[in-house]
């Protein structure tokens, strides 16, 4: 029950066929756009000055993998919009995605290969040629021990991931890691544990009537925000007759919490108990009548709501009401993420939440949990995803001098790993660090060789969104403008290195484009081609920007053995004594900057935080009452101290946060990454305790206790908003209960996917 059903979707793909040749003709049209206002003395025929050309591609700003259509004029990218044909975002796009243009045109991009000329970290580099850079790197690689080579990449999927596999395979090292701060390790682990599922399922928010979200900020950064927002909108007003109900359980109100009908603060880390409590109710009330009901009743016996109420601080009535509503509503869906998935008991919690879904029988149903088939390619990436434990392992190896060469690709652990992990120190122990990053970020600052890669708008690539939308989807990302600088696409760099190292028989390709084409030829073949022409297929995929296949999973529910018996949630562990560190630190991915990658984009810096309207900078959200008790006023600069360090940020009183929780957005506090990001705000990750969730090895980012101390200074954050109360002026009006509004499910778009050409 995905958002786009097969017929509709294939129709869309077909529709994309109009005006074939977008990416195809691109090869000729790639010129350097800077010299002339209309940079084509002899323009290629599909370019007519003054007429926009749209290219479909894939958004590279976050792991959601939305399809984008980029509007170009005279060879320059002007606007990014969602690709209406792409089932994930269906023409829509988030703020971060919009800002992709400022990644492309960022004034602080690395303009060509360089080598470290001074000490590491003091930002002294000299330009070299690609030839030079590649051969240097190749030498080091050749000289390195086989497993002394580590490749640390941002989470990539599709054929680029496969290329990495091949390359590392040839090098004979198994240290290929994909590292993303926000990667939902616990979620994967929980699903593996509960369903024995390798892939994440598709959470069908669109068709659900009741969403119970345990801390998952599904509208901002959880899995696939834009897709969820689409679903949210539709569930709210899209279905005639009834309106979906949304309940958010989290210690600090997130955007999803604000959007929800009900926001329930529960003690951090006790979400799992709550889930079990609700499950207990459902079973106890006999709402579940599966043949294994007995087993459930047994294992849930000691999670009576009074006990859970005591643990979680949520009243019994609320728990029982939630249980009733959840069981009543059909379909109902429970999801968990964010803080709930970042405690030391995360996996237990998520398993318990899965249990809820199981008990209301929404598995494989519309508006429930729909299993995804394996992605067409690059599925193995999931096992390569580095969690905190893996990184720790890498760090130890580095310290022990087992790592000779580290290749970093556009990921920034120096920023997204806690100080306590000792990553920066470990880097010092690595003889050679090669960075493929397009920006001078904290990690790249430590690198010896810089081989800057293209931004996603200049490079060839493809992407198979994970979690998918219930059926295999692939999208090709094509260059929409000529490369601005002397950079190369990651794929080409790898291929270049492979060439230098003489892996020619295993990796014969000379360009990422060829590699990609070969890869897609296989996809084309498995699709039992009607039209026997690959090039036509290739063009169509390029033009429509997306490819899909009607292969679905059967909806038979497989629940891993022993799960029901083993159902239990351990108490969350916190680093630091309550006495010394009275507050629990709730650090969350910022709306604008995600995990900090958006900090160098002026648009994102100036996008007011929706909840506080703050721009530029970091702040500490506190409950007004607590702040009053501690004598803090808005704008007082305080030091937030954990056992592992301290940062400074101004206090912002926030009406919807638990009294013993302080929240700090992640994303600021860079000491590199260009003029817009540098020396601005503070980075809460730095002071996180290295607590992990034993079951998934995931960093328990919400498991740190902190203490607040006044500095006596004031540093009121810059806000765009003034008074935030309506004073009875009826600006935001609301109507009670059921509104008989005729919904309108929107499928329209204003983007002509037409290339003005013959």
């Amino acid at each position: 029950m995905a958002n786009v059903d097969r017929r509709e979707f294939l129709k869309l793909v077909g529709a994309g066929g109009v005006g074939a040749g977008a990416g195809f003709m691109l090869a000729e049209s790639i010129k350097h756009p800077v010299e002339y206002l209309i940079p084509y003395p002899v323009p290629p025929e599909e370019f007519s000055p003054g007429i926009a050309t749209w290219y479909n591609s894939v958004c590279g700003m976050c792991p959601a993998g939305c399809g984008i259509s980029v509007r170009t004029r005279e060879g320059r990218a002007k606007k990014i919009e969602g690709n209406p044909l792409h089932p994930v975002n269906q023409g829509r796009l988030c703020a971060l995605g919009q800002a992709g243009l400022q990644v492309l045109y960022n004034p602080d991009r690395l303009t060509g290969p360089m080598i470290q000329s001074g000490q590491r970290g003091d930002d002294k580099f000299v330009k070299i040629t690609w030839e030079d850079g590649l051969s240097r790197t190749a030498e080091r690689l050749a000289a390195a021990r086989r497993d002394g080579i580590s490749f640390l990449s941002q989470g990539v999927r599709g054929h680029l991931a496969e290329l990495f596999e091949l390359f590392m395979g040839e090098l004979g090292s198994d240290r290929l890691l994909h590292y993303d701060f926000g990667h939902p390790h616990a979620l994967y682990a929980a699903n593996r544990k509960f369903f024995g599922e390798h892939q994440l399922p598709y959470y069908d928010i669109r068709n659900t009537r009741y969403l119970l979200s345990f801390g998952a900020d599904y509208l901002t950064n959880w899995l696939s925000p834009v897709h969820h927002a689409l679903g949210f909108g539709h569930s709210r007003q899209g279905n005639d007759g009834h309106r979906g109900r949304f309940v958010q359980i989290e210690p600090k109100m997130s955007i999803s919490g604000a959007a929800a009908d009900e926001w329930i603060p529960a003690r951090p880390g006790t979400e799992g108990f709550l889930a079990l409590g609700i499950a207990h109710h459902i079973v106890a009330d006999g709402r579940y009548d599966g043949d294994d009901a007995g087993k459930w009743r047994a294992s849930l016996a000691d999670w009576s709501s009074d006990r859970v109420a005591g643990l979680s601080g949520v009243s019994e009535e609320t728990i029982s009401r939630l249980a009733r509503e959840f069981a009543h509503a059909e379909p109902a869906l429970a999801i968990a993420g964010g803080a709930a998935a970042n405690h030391t008991n995360a996996v237990d919690t998520l398993v318990a939440v899965n249990a809820l879904n199981y008990l209301v029988g929404n598995i494989g149903k519309a508006g429930g949990v729909v299993f995804n088939p394996d992605p067409v390619t690059g599925g193995s990436v999931i096992d390569r995803q580095a969690n905190y434990r893996t990184m720790q392992n890498l760090i130890e190896n580095a310290r022990d001098g087992n790592i000779d060469v580290l290749i970093v690709n556009n990921t920034n652990p120096a920023f997204t790993l806690p100080r306590a992990s000792g990553f920066r120190e470990a880097l010092a122990a690595i003889p050679t660090i090669v960075s493929l990053s397009s920006f001078m970020d904290e990690t790249t600052l430590m690198a010896d060789v810089l081989l800057p890669s293209h931004t996603y708008l200049e490079a060839w690539g493809d992407d198979m969104p994970q979690p998918g939308v219930g059926f295999p989807v692939g999208a090709i990302s094509q260059p929409v403008v000529a490369p601005l600088y002397n950079s190369r696409s990651t794929g080409d760099i790898i291929l270049g290195l492979a060439g230098k190292l003489g892996f020619n028989e295993a990796i014969p390709w000379t360009s990422m484009e060829d590699f990609l084409k070969d890869g897609w030829r296989q996809i084309y073949e498995r699709g039992r081609p009607e039209s026997g022409d690959f090039d036509a297929f290739w063009r169509d995929v390029l033009v429509s920007g997306v490819w899909g296949e009607n292969a679905r999973r059967d909806d038979s529910v497989v629940i891993a053995p022993g799960v029901i018996e083993g159902l239990a949630v351990s108490a969350p562990q916190f680093s630091g004594e309550r006495g010394d560190y009275p507050f629990i630190l709730h650090s969350y991915l910022s709306t604008a900057m995600y995990d900090g990658r958006g900090a160098n984009l002026p648009w994102m810096q100036e996008l007011p935080d929706p909840m506080t309207s703050i721009v530029y900078g970091t702040w500490v959200e506190m409950n007004p009452v607590t702040a009053k008790d501690m004598g803090f006023r808005d704008g007082d600069l305080v030091t937030v101290t954990s056992r592992f360090g301290s940062i400074e940020a101004p206090v912002v009183t926030f009406p919807a946060i638990m009294p013993d929780v302080v929240a700090i957005p992640i994303g600021q506090g860079h000491n590199a990454l260009g003029r817009y990001a540098r020396n601005r705000g503070a980075n809460p990750i730095e002071i996180l305790a290295p607590e992990t969730d034993s079951a998934s090895g995931n960093l328990a980012t919400s498991a740190t206790r902190v203490a607040l101390a006044a500095t006596g200074r004031r540093a009121a954050p810059v806000k765009t908003g003034g008074e935030s109360r309506q004073l009875g002026r009826g600006i935001v009006q609301s109507t009670g209960g059921r509104s008989g509004s005729p919904g309108h499910s929107a499928k329209l778009n204003s983007i002509p996917i037409v290339v003005e050409s013959a």
Binding site: R73, Q98, R236, A258, A259, R725, Q733, G737
Partner: protein, 255 residues
């Protein structure tokens, strides 16, 4: 046609109130507050489409933000029953716009699409329109803005870059409307098809809270959603007759 004929015909025709309500289009936007999540995608989309300058921290600190569409947020209640409600605020394209009457040089007036247009080249910067606008959605260029190279390559060639001393505001992406009309003309159509044109904010809104269209066309989506029981206008009591219609947020637990 002599000046006197013009005068005579003009006199006959234009003595009556609001005569220009008989214009070709009446572009309208509805904003479903029950769908709006406050994510801010519309804000960035607008910045990208309309060459809205990067103001910089120092200027923002002095209260000179430039966001033709902004997300206003209003808290209700206290912990633990605190509620946060978002409302996107943009130029309401009022039919009885206070800002229009006050401009001494007619730099802002009503065009034949029922749009409240701002003529940057004509503006002399009295800023009175901003004072008269009850929605405070007019933004003034307090200084010349610049883009660090090569950021300026992103600038939309269909939209001007405003100089210092000029007032600016949301235009409903008039450049897109023009384009759509040209397309329609090329296809030999008299009118623009519903949904053929969307402002950047509407186009990108992830939860599809924004709907745009011509309310003169009764079958258009915007007309339908205007007829929704939840439809209301902000500060309606001022009788500015906005072309932006909001749909009330649904408070599920109230009635």
């Amino acid at each position: 046609m002599s000046i006197w004929d013009r005068f005579a015909s003009g006199w006959r025709e234009f003595r009556k109130d609001g005569y220009y309500e008989e214009f070709d289009y009446a572009w309208t936007m509805t904003i479903d507050l029950d769908r709006c999540t406050g994510c801010g995608a519309c804000v960035t989309a607008c910045q990208a489409e309309n060459n809205i300058p990067i103001v910089g921290e120092e200027q923002l600190e002095r209260g000179r933000e430039m966001q033709w569409i902004r997300i206003e947020r209003y808290w209700e209640g206290e912990y633990p029953n605190a509620k946060l409600k978002f409302i996107p605020m943009l130029c309401q394209q009022c039919d009885a716009a206070p800002c229009e009457t006050v401009c001494p040089v007619t730099a802002t007036y009503h065009n034949q699409d029922g749009l409240n247009v701002q003529v940057y080249n004509r503006c002399i910067g009295t800023r009175s329109c901003a004072v008269y606008c009850p929605y405070t959605v007019r933004y003034f260029n307090y200084n010349d803005h610049h883009w660090d190279a090569p950021l300026e390559q992103q600038l939309n060639p269909d939209v001007t870059v405003r100089e210092k001393g000029v007032m600016e505001k949301c235009t409903f992406c008039v450049q897109r409307i023009r384009q759509a009309k040209d397309h329609a003309k090329d296809d030999g159509r008299r009118r623009v098809r519903d949904g053929e044109v969307q402002p950047a904010c509407v186009q990108t809104c992830p939860s599809e809270a924004l709907v745009f269209g011509d309310r003169k066309d009764a079958s258009s989506r915007v007309s339908k959603s205007m007829s929704d029981a939840r439809a209301y206008r902000v500060l309606d009591e001022l009788n500015t007759q906005p072309s932006v219609v909001y749909l009330k947020k649904v408070d599920a637990d109230a009635d």
